[in-house]
């Protein structure tokens, strides 16, 4: 039998940890941010989400957002995130594909 010993090519990673935000008890009466990163179709998705939100939680309010920097995808800066966090209770996003 022949034996071959090799070193692993895989690097150790730096781990990050973020505690999830407390969830809302209900969407009724809440202000919900609708965040679009400007990828095609995301606006139509949020249009329908807003309509459904109004149907199911008539007391909910919505605010629309996009990021202040970017190109095909617009991203939130730290300042954007601070502003959004100060204005809404929760956010629905279309930021993935």
């Amino acid at each position: 039998m022949a034996s071959l010993t090799v070193l692993s090519p895989v690097a150790r990673t730096v781990e990050h940890s973020v505690k999830p935000a407390p969830r809302l008890r209900s969407l009724e009466g809440a202000t919900i941010g609708l965040y679009w990163n400007m990828k095609a179709g995301g606006d139509a998705a949020l249009d329908r989400a807003e309509a459904l939100l109004r149907e199911r939680s008539p007391g909910a309010r919505v605010r629309r957002y996009t990021g202040s920097v970017g190109w095909l995808m617009r991203h939130c800066t730290a300042e954007d995130a601070d502003r959004i966090a100060a204005e809404v209770h929760a956010v629905i996003g279309t930021t993935n594909d």
Binding site: A2, S3, L4, T5, V6, L7, S8, P9, V10, A11, R12, T13, V14, E15, H16, S17, V18, K19, P20, A21, P22, R23, L24, S26, L27, G33, Y35, M38, K39, A40, G42, A44, A45, D47, R48, A49, L52, R56, V69, G70, W71, L72, R74, T77, A78, D80, A81, D82, I84, A85, V88, H89, A90, V91, I92, G93, T94, T95, N96, D97
Partner: protein, 448 residues
Amino acid sequence: MVELERRGIPTVIFTARAFVDDARRSAASFGLPGLPLAVVPLPFTNRRPDAIHRMVEAAFDQVVAGLTRPVEMPEPVERPAVEDRLAYEGPDALDAWERMNRDFLRRGWGDGFPLVPATPRAVEAMLRGTTREPADVVATLEPGFGLATVEKLAVNAVMAGCEPAALPLLVAAVRCLAAPKMYIRNKAMSTGPHAPLVLVNGPKGRAAGLGSGMCALGPGAPSVANTVLGRAVRLVMMNVGHTYVGVSDMDTIGSPLKYSLACAENEAESPWEPYHATRGYPREASTVTVHFVYGICELHDFRSTAPEDLADVFATAATNVAQVGTGLWLIGRRADPRYKTEEKEHNTLFVCPEHAQLFARAGWGRAELQAALYRRARLPFRTLMLNKEPQAFQTAHPELAWLADHPDLPLPVVEEPGCFDIAVVGGAAGRGAYFYGAGEPVTMPVED
């Protein structure tokens, strides 16, 4: 979204089923693997509103649950071996090597071609190519935040087939990848086929045997040092940066350029100052430049004898709207808000020596060619906007709203003449290459 969660705001994201693993991996790398998703069957792109609305309706209960129910943190995923030595046995050495290759591919550590075994002795020999200590951390490489130690780079360099003289080049390339301006997280994880184009300048590239002339982009023996250096960069992106296809690299079409794309500039036959001198480095310095590119187009012209005619031909390569970067400046700039970086969209031209000398004989330097391309490579506003979001244009350039009334006005395909990066590469006869770029190149010095 993770940044909003950090600020105490519950979030939920619509995600197409095919991208769920990517979204989870991405969220996990930022510290919140349980980030709630509302999974829809298909991406929203290229769909009519009614089809999108139906997907949202079907997923809306997930939206409500994501915002109102406790976040379930998934079990930690099993981490791949980091410091382990792996042993393979077989009836003979070839069989053991085949088992190693099959296992590495199964784990996702290979690029598909057979890998050179990174035995302790081979890695030790590779490490003699640098004066740095094996444990030195060159960078933390996104998207996986992998610690790029010199030893891990050496292991991947061995696997790619590099000689020890290439290790300092690889170290410099990794520093390029990790530079905040590179925004590698975007390029590594995107659905687009981003390939790192590696251009080496200076004596250390020549000492490492990099080719710059005949068939510099491969394949074959004259370009073998190029091929294996480019391959090492890809393996490092995978095994150190944790850019794994279908997991954290969501490239939907792929590209042969992603296997390997590296060469040196043909400084000996260039009539111009070396490329790295245009980027502020001394002529005698050795540097590595990395520019992510999407695709390649030949720059062919056997006929022109005047620089204006040759520039006319080159400019046609730049006016391809199906390439994502063409006219992208109209909807903003690639930006990483974490580091407050912004990139203009650049394209790289490899001009063959014969063409470069034609330009030079007419008194044209790089700046003249860049200016000529900028003037010639123009398309009507309406054509540039064919595949771009109107609202993104309105958001990025409210001062240009008047263009809507002038749809046939020709506009430059790039933001400024300097967005054409020009290097002299290749052999005799009039053939070069145009690379459709993604953002800006980054250059780093090569250190021993």
